[in-house]
């Protein structure tokens, strides 16, 4: 039997070259989705194969890797991906945001501000921001070519007409360097402002859809909006129950079946760091009560 033998960071060198070339083009054309011949990875499509391929192509022995899913280092898929690289590349791993040189993420941007010696690698399920407005690749490619983004504005405007707000809470579209409309991956719109003018390089990998794109450091990233309906990041009314943070993104924890809830930081490293530094929250929150609609 052909006993499998795998390369450093799993991918063969030819594949890494192909991905590396795509990454360079992606950086040179901010927000443009570079097609690449995504490989079949030893984990399912949709579970981070794009991010894993990008990470595998850039990772070296000197790197320190952090992997988060939903902001947490301890979710099972984050653990699984971190173990994959610890095993195939032997790299050091960390949960501390400021110690990491490469951070692979699904659905969050860390709360701790990133610095210039870091690369943030996003796992992307559907890279095409126009896909749900126009399913055809041939059409969306033409729209990007002509920078014809009217359809997106119409969609956002229809939201306003119907709900009074732009009804997009995550994967909120942005415009990169005043040219390409880009999908930031399904991060909550709370995280959108962190992409703007970031000192860190941001790389996006979509394995199943076979696209790589990038935001270079210090690049203008604007969330799409209207003058009379400006972009507003989602705000929580309560601070984190564990660390008292007032400006972090929170997970809602349902604590019983009688309506009790508490809110805690989704970024576990940030929350633990604050608690270690002596910050404390209420440890429990008052039950959340949805205001009953007053129907007469």
């Amino acid at each position: 039997m052909n006993a499998p033998a795998y390369n450093f960071a799993y991918l063969d060198e030819q594949t890494k070259r192909m991905i590396r070339r795509a990454i360079l083009k992606a950086i040179a054309i901010p927000g443009y989705q570079v097609p690449f011949a995504s490989r079949e990875m030893p984990m399912p499509y949709g579970w981070g194969t794009g991010g894993v391929q990008v990470t595998a192509a850039i990772l070296g022995p000197a790197d320190v890797l952090k992997v988060i899913d939903q902001g947490s280092d301890d979710t099972t898929n984050a653990i699984s991906i971190r173990k994959f690289f610890a095993k195939t590349a032997g790299v050091a791993t960390t949960t501390a945001t400021d110690e990491a040189t490469v951070i692979q993420t699904r659905h969050r941007i860390p709360e701790t501000a990133l610095h210039a010696n870091q690369v943030l690698v996003y796992q992307v399920p559907i890279p095409e921001p126009l896909r749900f407005l126009e399913p055809r690749e041939t059409e969306t490619r033409r729209m990007h070519a002509l920078a014809e983004y009217g359809l997106m504005h119409v969609k956002l405007y229809e939201d306003i007409a119907r709900f009074g707000h732009i009804a997009t809470a995550y994967a909120y579209p942005v415009k990169v360097n005043a040219r390409y409309v880009m999908d930031p991956s399904p991060t909550p719109k709370f995280d959108n402002p962190k992409m703007d003018n970031s000192p860190a390089l941001q790389l996006f990998g979509a394995g199943r859809e076979k696209r790589i794109y990038a935001i270079p450091p210090y690049t203008k990233v604007v969330s799409l909006d209207f003058e009379d309906h400006p972009f507003e990041p989602y705000r929580f009314n309560a601070p984190c129950a564990l660390c008292g943070a007032e400006n972090s993104y929170l997970d809602e924890i349902v604590t019983d079946d009688k309506g009790s809830r508490m809110f805690v930081c989704s970024d576990t490293d940030y929350c633990e760091g604050r608690q270690a530094a002596g910050h404390h929250g209420s440890l429990s929150a008052a039950p959340y009560k949805e205001k009953a609609p007053s129907h007469g």
Partner: protein, 202 residues
């Protein structure tokens, strides 16, 4: 005649040297104007600088048509070295090249003769690798654009002297355009198509 056994070697450690070289090039591309060093060394051939050779070993293969300027293509050693170590097909038609190696910038052809990509596929463009005299001394340039926190300055001795004026076409062409990697020995500076360069004199 050089035989294959006499060819200057490639990387001692193919995997880790390519990774390290790539990170230098990636950092250069992500932070235009910053001077990055290429650490791992391979052999070189003919007029190829050490940095150029390392980039070739890192990014070229069967899938990357390669265009060479006269100085490079006249060197049988360069041709043999590239074929043996990278397998990249050398093409005469610069408009289908994925990469172009420019040993002597003074003879750089018109940029329109390289692939500029299309509006649908702006990535299908030629990346120029231009060897220059110095990336730490010479005229001063100011750079602006993505990857740069405000303004970056670069001191360099570059041929052709009007390279950055010629690259100004990138502004009108965008998203089409030409990305340039400047190499001086082991130093690398990238000028992607989004970078605007102003000559500040010497």
């Amino acid at each position: 005649m050089t035989t294959i056994a006499e060819l200057p070697p490639g990387f001692a450690d193919k995997v880790l040297s390519a990774q390290s070289t790539f990170r230098s090039v990636m950092d250069a591309m992500a932070r235009p104007g910053s001077v990055q060093r290429i650490v791992p060394m391979a052999g070189t051939a003919g007029p190829m600088m050490r940095g150029t050779a390392a980039i070739a070993l890192t990014l070229f293969d069967h899938d990357t048509p390669l265009w060479l300027d006269a100085g490079m293509s006249e060197s049988a050693d360069v041709l043999k070295w590239l074929k043996f170590h990278t397998g990249a097909p050398v093409v005469q038609d610069s408009s289908i090249a994925a990469f172009a190696l420019i040993g002597d910038g003074a003879a750089l052809p018109s940029l329109e003769r390289f692939a500029l990509g299309t509006n649908e596929y702006p990535d299908r463009s030629t990346t120029l690798i231009v060897q220059v005299d110095s990336l730490d001394a010479g005229r001063s340039f100011e750079l602006r654009g993505p990857g740069i926190n405000g303004v970056a300055t670069l001191q360099a001795s570059i041929k052709p002297l009007d390279l950055f004026e010629r690259l100004r076409m990138n502004e009108a062409l965008f998203p089409r355009g030409i990305d340039v990697v400047l190499v001086a020995d082991d130093a690398v500076v990238a000028i992607p198509r989004t970078t605007r360069v102003v000559n500040k004199g010497s």
